[in-house]
Symmetry: D2
Subunit: 349 residues, 4 copies
């Protein structure tokens, strides 16, 4: 079968690979739709270290091709969504409620990390009964594929933020995860949502997904403006959706005492991420810093599909580009170099 | 001043009373709008025991008339919302996070219980800085008055229900509290909301406030239908919004293991409220039963006002009737006898 | 191999059975020690319906005899503890944090319920990597076996009770689960623990495990006495450890507003478990009712073994009797008929 | 009356001041015992900015001398404990559950910060009913005084750390707050507690208060050693009890994915407190960072007194020195310069 791989750091391309085979608890899925993620670029750039001919991609839906002997719920022909994170559910970290950390830190992240990813005609799913979900008829593949990572990660940002009904929230950066964090903040009942973003197209989408106010960091001081917008109090919840030291510092500064900084960003650079000491209340202001990695699992995926099925959010507004799988090289270039105002490129198999 | 009182059990009417005066921490508010609540009927019927010439009502907004020496935030002329529940914030129960229970069980409930209520030209507010909130210009009195009890109690039903994003919720009874619990379930991100109700006008409002499906208990078996609607699983959260033993039993039955029964109803009758033993998993199915009394306080009221200001919910759709204060006797009769498809009667001062 | 079974409702005895064989994810364990539980009596009495030749028992430790192809952590010869509850960790209920409810209400309870139990020379363990734990050298089998159910269930009673450091707790009934709930209350930092019990030997053990005060329901009114002991406030947490309607009512009555009733008891009788309406605050006093079924899993078992290894609690004080496996009929009779002040009978294989 | 004050940055001494007078909600207490805290040294060194003739001290017990008109619970002659933090309970931050942040970041900290402290013959208490607690007869003043800050802050470290029964905990630095965090970890049920400390006398006390193992950072690499002690996993909870950037970094490194870094330390230096990026899981390892400021309030103080009354912990083992109030200058020097292996100096009035 055809796979789109990271040949080595900095180099991608197609490669012919053998069809994967399921172990007793596993499934093999024939890919129908996938999305490219900025993590794919991080990976190719060497963010997780060297890899050789590793199939890229972790956001996909498809049709079950084959299942192992112990798989009970799924059978060939089922139309399924697979979480980007496919935990080992019996591991202690999963038993403690942190399935994304099962086996190792970030250990639930297997696709395009510890095994081949989903940018291939077929891909392998561990613990299939626990990590896949059937897609309802009312939800097209083009929409369902957003659950794998974008909805799950973005909503997690809101969930970890401990938002009260009527609370105030700032979402720092309105890329696809930030946009879904904005939607997630609204889903948790935020009374006032501030989106921080400078790109006009993303500002517009942020308003569509629920931002009440936009702060453009190229035009105003973010901290000053957010204090002004919140009656000098700061926000209940600041969601970091970029993964930059300076954005993280802003998040700590704009959060009120007793509030939460909820991180969704991947911090790819530097030895440290720095907390501004005084604005953190010298370590005593009850400002909690929460983090996490995209939740996976059947239950999570079923809930996210329900959000789509009942039309709470339409993530397809983020699909700025569509490519056929054989155009993958161009698609990757567009995503990697952020050409042409790209938000999410959809890949059709 | 003129007050509308419970003269004795079963008898209401107007009475002339002296203007209240504030203690050091208190305020006196000139009433502008009020709402009649079913609790007022319970009280008149003897639900909290005998009372003599007690001013009725606990849902009101108005203008500050006078404040005590220790009040710092408010001054005469401020347009304010006052929570139906006005806790003593320094009491241990409030320090533990249960302010509605401050001083005694349900001790935060003072209006028309342990002191005169708000159906009067002026009313007294204890701990004014902590129990009032300024009303934003964009929110009219007719709308703000719903925060005092209806939004606070209904949303509490959703909040205590521990609803996950994409979770399933049933709200049993779509009176005003149930309708706001329905809206609250949507505010917490419920993926599928079932409203149980038989009255057509309330069914319509339930859909407007966010019910995806209506179950009419006069036409179908509620438990069967809800299991059918949830893939035989039951709901994550069942919100009881009636206060009846049989409804409570239904709530326990339709809740999945690991789910929550969240009660908002006032149980007015019988020695016991009964849990169906087997469907409760013989006491071992991780079905939590949560209860509570309308949260009050400045912070709560400010958050609810923010929900209105940013147009998340429009509670005025529930205003089926409007009366002048001098029509209070007729208004009370309409509410008490549930005439003319009444949902909430608004009183204009 | 020899197994001790429930032949039919009301009748037990030995039976020769074939050695179980592991599936890919499973293990077979050679039993070394087991404990008899009152649940075994409930089962034989028909509590979970008719069964034919079902091997009894769910509390055991042993040595791994055989493992399936997918088992990675354990190998033959390992000395292991197996939780009484052996969840399916990939099921949605487990993913939601309620592993004991995986697959069905109480679905994690497999031993002597949906499959053969542990009163046999060998027993079968599903999802072995997730449901077994290696026993540290410093913890003898006689002690480790208490983790399977007694520590896990009793401590759960304390954990679900949301006990604050310095809080007040009452544990209603000091059978083995109640005694471990008493120890659990102390492990959570309770400042004052009241044990309710009438049997002198159990009263003594309750004090050893951490009760500061004993209330004997045969000599005094439990509700009155507990209000007296808590300055008329009631307790922060009441743990029901009997499974009787009247005890449950007492638990609701003695819990302060904002407190928690935490149930560990199995309710075996009646159509309803009844909540006393007025003392429950007419459904509005923030008295939460929590329930659960003994948590299982490797992580839980490892943590409980750590509690033993570092000498926080010594459960072997509850071992009132020791029998060889071939004396099982007599052992069961002693346990079933509660002869000779039995608390826990240990079975040696 | 005589008061021991910070005359200006770097200079302390006695000063005659007028007796304070209570407002309507306040009390004036005649001091009987006080403790010197390292925060007093921070303050004198300029940590909270310049102050002129500010009375120092925030840990004290005494006898009520006078109360305001609205005080209901206390009267002259009552023997009382006063929390180091005296929140304004009606403020929004307190209503949100963060009373130590009421009014402003760290706004509950009034003694020797925004008003005169307790190192005086009399001191003033705001919101007396909410911020004082009667001391039980069984608890001497010398012991009760430890509740004001040491127990409250140290235990908070454990409480915020979300310690499971049987979990693993490291407490970094065994000064008085660290020692009480160690005791607090045991009170929450930790199965294995590691104390990090180099001073022999503090190591000994750490074992007395519940450390199972001591790691001496002058003799071994703390991160390596803690991974070795925890089977390469790291701890569930790391409690920072020093307030140093390097210790904080260690805390992040030794915490397992899904675990919590709970801060109690006051960070007095530098622009940033730095999170080690990779060991923090690049912002995705579910390692939560929690902070807080000593909880105050009557409920908290009553619970802590119950811990002492029922002999869970004996904090007087930390009293290395005792001085009369007129020896305050020498006492302060001993504490400030950490002479003579001082842990806590007790002041007798």
């Amino acid at each position: 079968m055809k796979a789109f791989v990271m040949k080595e750091i900095g180099r991608v391309g197609f490669l012919e690979k053998p069809l994967p085979r399921p172990g007793p608890n596993d499934a093999v899925v024939r890919t129908t739709r996938a999305l490219i993620c900025t993590s794919d670029s991080h990976t190719v750039a060497g963010g997780i270290g060297p890899r050789e001919n590793l199939t890229l991609g972790h956001e996909a839906v498809g049709v079950v091709h084959d299942v192992g002997s112990e798989v009970k719920i799924f059978q060939p022909g089922d139309r399924v969504l697979v979480g980007a994170i496919t935990p080992e559910w019996g591991q202690p970290a999963a038993q403690a409620g942190y399935s994304s950390q099962s086996g190792a830190p970030l250990g639930g992240w297997k696709f395009s990390n510890s095994k081949d990813g989903v940018f291939a005609e077929y891909f392998h799913v561990n613990e299939a009964d626990a990590n896949m979900a059937k897609i309802p008829d009312a939800v097209p593949d083009d929409m369902a594929v957003y659950c794998a990572d974008m909805l799950s990660t973005g909503f997690m940002g809101a969930e970890h933020g401990n938002i009260p009904i009527g609370g105030t929230v700032a979402v720092l950066a309105q890329g696809p995860v930030g946009l879904m964090a904005t939607a997630g903040a609204r889903l948790r009942g935020a009374g006032f949502v501030i989106g921080v973003e400078s790109v006009p197209a993303r500002q517009t989408l942020a308003r569509t997904y629920g931002a009440d106010e936009i702060v453009d960091f190229t035009k105003e001081d973010v901290v000053d403006r957010i204090f002004e917008l919140t009656g000098r109090e700061g926000v209940d919840t600041a969601i970091e959706a970029l993964g930059a030291d300076s954005t993280f510092q802003t998040a700590v500064k704009i959060t009120k005492p007793g509030g939460t900084v909820s991180n969704t960003g991947y911090f790819g650079e530097g030895e440290f991420v720095r907390i501004p000491r005084v604005e953190w209340g010298v370590g005593m202001a009850d400002k909690t810093i929460a983090t996490g990695l995209c939740p996976g699992g059947r239950l999570r995926m079923e809930r996210l599909l329900r959000v789509l099925e009942n039309k709470r959010v339409d993530p397809t507004l983020m699909t700025t580009h569509t490519f056929r799988f054989d155009e993958m090289e161009r698609a990757f270039e567009v995503a990697d170099r952020k050409l042409d105002d790209v938000i999410k490129p959809l890949i059709v198999f």
